[in-house]
């Protein structure tokens, strides 16, 4: 019955090479590729520096600038290079950068330290960006996996609901929701979120971006569910939940990691936009968006009010974006992950 062939003894290992006990997994391969991408690593480090600086805001405020983010110094006089200078001149123009310990980046029209506000504002901006990204990714993954895996009416319900959100421009929807919720806050049962909490913009941004992530994930799940290893799992008695969690989700991980990085940049930008329009972080709390918004009217007389938070915003968004692209190239060399942006 056996086919005539030189047929190896059954128990001998095929393939020969011994040892090498730990296999080289997809992640390790990706990490190797990422490490070769010096640009991505450099920009990733830059983003990390921004994050660390913002986290150190209280240290800077207490030990170097000796002032808080919301403390007014409007009537005070400072010495710069031996000469006295009003923090805010009588006609309302705040001082520019002193490059000293106090008012390093100058003051704002209320006599507050721009550098201190920049770091505290960064904390808010990054916190909202990260929270919003987590909300988006978690909701979008759940929606995309369920819709793509079950198809049928579940898919119809989820996809049409997402279309409803998708039909509005993200900024417009964000402003509408943000303004409304900032006024009254949210009360769900015993849970109450105050109008000036960072959770409001984080929730708004998180929800607004769900369809943009859920769609490509759903598409990928539609492909994954037809793979033979899903059938193999079913013949081994795995239920739907088990298949989604242990067969499909691990195969989405590269996509999700890339989306987290790219979505972070998107969320930070939207936070800035909403705050600029008064629908995000509520004054007097700082954020990069509110700082730009407060400085716009003085853009010619005191350009540092717009430039300083603006440049910081660009650095943060650019660095996380370039790093995200590097991650994408490393995790997905064949470019199968498709983000659907408008």
């Amino acid at each position: 019955m056996a086919i005539e062939t030189s047929h190896p003894p059954l128990l001998a290992p095929i393939g020969g090479e011994e040892a090498a006990p730990a296999g080289i997994g997809p992640y390790r391969l990706a990490l190797r590729r990422l490490r070769r991408n010096k640009t991505a690593i450099a920009f990733g480090a830059l983003f990390l520096i921004v994050v660390i600086l913002c986290l150190l805001a209280p240290v800077y405020a207490n030990d170097i600038a000796h002032t808080g983010p919301n403390t007014n110094h409007i009537t005070e006089v400072i010495k710069v290079g031996g000469k006295s200078r009003d923090v805010v001149s009588p006609d309302g123009i705040p001082t520019g950068p002193t490059w000293g310990s106090k008012f390093f980046f100058g003051a704002d029209p209320s006599g507050r330290d721009v550098a201190v506000r920049l770091l505290y504002g960064g904390r808010n901006s990054l916190e909202i960006g990260i929270l919003a990204t987590i909300i988006t990714i978690v909701l979008a993954t759940a929606a995309g996996v369920v819709a793509g895996y079950f198809r049928g009416w579940a898919d119809g319900l989820i996809s049409r609901t997402l279309d409803l959100i998708w039909a509005y421009p993200a900024v417009l929807l964000g402003v509408a929701l943000g303004v409304n919720l900032a006024l009254g806050g949210i009360s769900v049962g015993p849970l109450h979120i105050k109008g000036n909490s960072n959770w409001i913009p984080a929730l708004v941004i998180g929800v607004v971006y769900v369809p943009y992530i859920a769609r490509p994930i759903r598409g990928q799940v539609l492909g994954l569910r037809e793979r033979e290893y899903i059938d193999a799992a079913r013949t081994l008695g795995a239920g739907h939940l088990r298949i989604m969690a242990s067969e499909i989700l691990p195969n989405l991980s590269s996509t999700l990691v890339v989306f987290v990085a790219l979505q972070m940049a998107q969320s930070i930008v939207l936070e800035a936009s909403l705050s600029f329009l008064g629908a995000g972080v509520q004054p007097p709390n700082p954020s990069w968006g509110t700082m730009i918004s407060e400085g716009v009217s003085l853009i010619t007389a005191a350009p540092h009010l717009v430039l300083v938070p603006g440049i910081m915003l660009i650095v943060a968004v650019l660095s996380v974006n370039v790093f995200g692209e590097g991650l994408r190239a490393a995790l997905d060399p064949r470019a199968t992950i498709r983000a659907n942006r408008t």
Binding site: M1, P8, L10, G25, E228, D231, T235
Partner: protein, 367 residues
């Protein structure tokens, strides 16, 4: 055995109870169209198929692409829900069981897939992949690593490979992992869905021999799906030929090659490549044309449109499966390679599709 009323059973002692009974099984896939997704037609993937499998037997299942052999294999595993008929495993009806009730059955019947690349989750280590079957059998977690190593050795892989990922293996090695995963559940029946057609020819023989050895040692039963007759010949005890959702011929393996009864089987045999150029030049009549649509199969014999021997009756009356001596069944009004005695001893098999006619070949009505 007098090869009379035994239908699709093996030419084994009649005392052996069938392991698996496929009883008038039907699988229709709805074809949806339009905005509302209304069902416009059905694809007749498996249409009234009856065949039994005894313990320790290998049943070869052949036919061209789209004939329903893979659907039949998947339905046996309940990966596809049958729309009609019954599936019985060791006498228990599993046709309508829900996923939870299927679990005991799941361990008994496993599958090895066609594409070893697609059938192993690229994110999992080989050890994790194989352990799934052990978990299904309820083996405690601490005992699993040792058993995984045993299984790897059993399929000819090094136990050192437990922590590797599928992409670190060659095609043949991956298929061995697939076999180990199936074995982990300690099944009685393994459905092999073209297990070697994605492999190099040299590797094919190795994997086929591995399957053969495992069968001898573990007493497994196989359903071996293939699209050509050359591979199944060596492994099968019995071979069923499918055409457009129906079984057209079932016979002990050697008899099918030496004495094909159905013209389609004959044509399939003619399309097996022959390495000898001299023999290859001789008259061969491989199948011409394409099979008819499976959404609207023709009345009568489904092969009639491509059959060189078709007559009027073939286009009108669906031929019943007729049992000839020697456990050889064929559904044809104009059987090939049968003697007058064979015809005289022939009876209509109970495995015939319900829609088929009731006239024996050679009788008045069939002419």
């Amino acid at each position: 055995m007098t090869a009379t009323e035994t239908g699709g059973e093996a030419p084994a002692p009649a005392a052996t109870a069938p392991l698996l009974e496929i009883d008038h099984l039907q699988v229709l896939f709805p074809v949806r169209a339009g905005m509302l997704g209304r069902t416009r037609a059905h694809v007749h993937a498996v249409d009234d198929v009856t065949i039994n499998l005894t313990e320790g037997e290998t049943l070869g299942l052949v036919g061209e692409s789209g004939c329903g052999k893979t659907t039949l294999a998947r339905t046996v595993l309940r990966l596809t829900k049958p729309t009609g008929g019954h599936l019985r495993f060791r006498g228990n009806d599993i046709t309508a069981l829900g996923q939870r009730d299927l679990r005991p059955f799941r361990a008994e019947v496993q599958m090895v897939f066609q594409d070893p690349q697609a059938s192993l989750n690229p994110r999992k280590r080989v050890g994790q992949i194989i352990s799934a079957g052990l978990a299904l059998r309820g083996m405690p977690e601490k005992d699993r690593p040792a058993r995984v190593r045993e299984l790897l050795a059993q399929v000819g892989l090094s136990p050192e490979h437990v922590n590797r990922f599928p992409h670190e293996f060659s095609g043949g090695q991956r298929q061995r992992v697939g076999v180990a995963r199936a074995l982990a559940a300690e099944p009685r029946l393994i459905v092999l869905d073209e297990p070697v057609s994605a492999l190099d020819v040299s590797i094919q023989a190795q994997v086929v021999n591995l399957l053969d050895d495992l069968q001898d040692r573990l007493g497994l039963s196989y359903i071996f799906v293939a699209h050509d007759l050359s591979v199944v010949r060596h492994v099968s005890d019995r071979i069923a030929v499918m055409y457009l959702g129906k079984i057209v011929e079932v016979s002990p393996a050697e008899a099918l090659y030496s004495r094909p009864i159905h013209p389609y089987t004959e044509a399939l045999l003619d399309s097996v490549p022959i390495p000898d150029a001299e023999r290859a030049r001789r008259a061969r009549k491989p199948v011409q044309g394409d099979p008819p649509s499976a959404t609207a199969p023709p009345p009568g014999c489904r092969f009639a449109g491509r059959c060189p021997h078709a007559t009027d009756v073939c286009r009108r009356v669906e031929p019943p499966l007729v049992a000839y001596p020697g456990g050889h069944l064929a559904a044809c009004h104009h059987p090939r390679n049968v003697s007058a005695e064979d015809l005289a001893a022939a009876v209509i098999s109970p495995s015939s599709p319900a829609s088929s006619g009731d006239s024996l070949p050679g009788s008045e009505a069939a002419l």
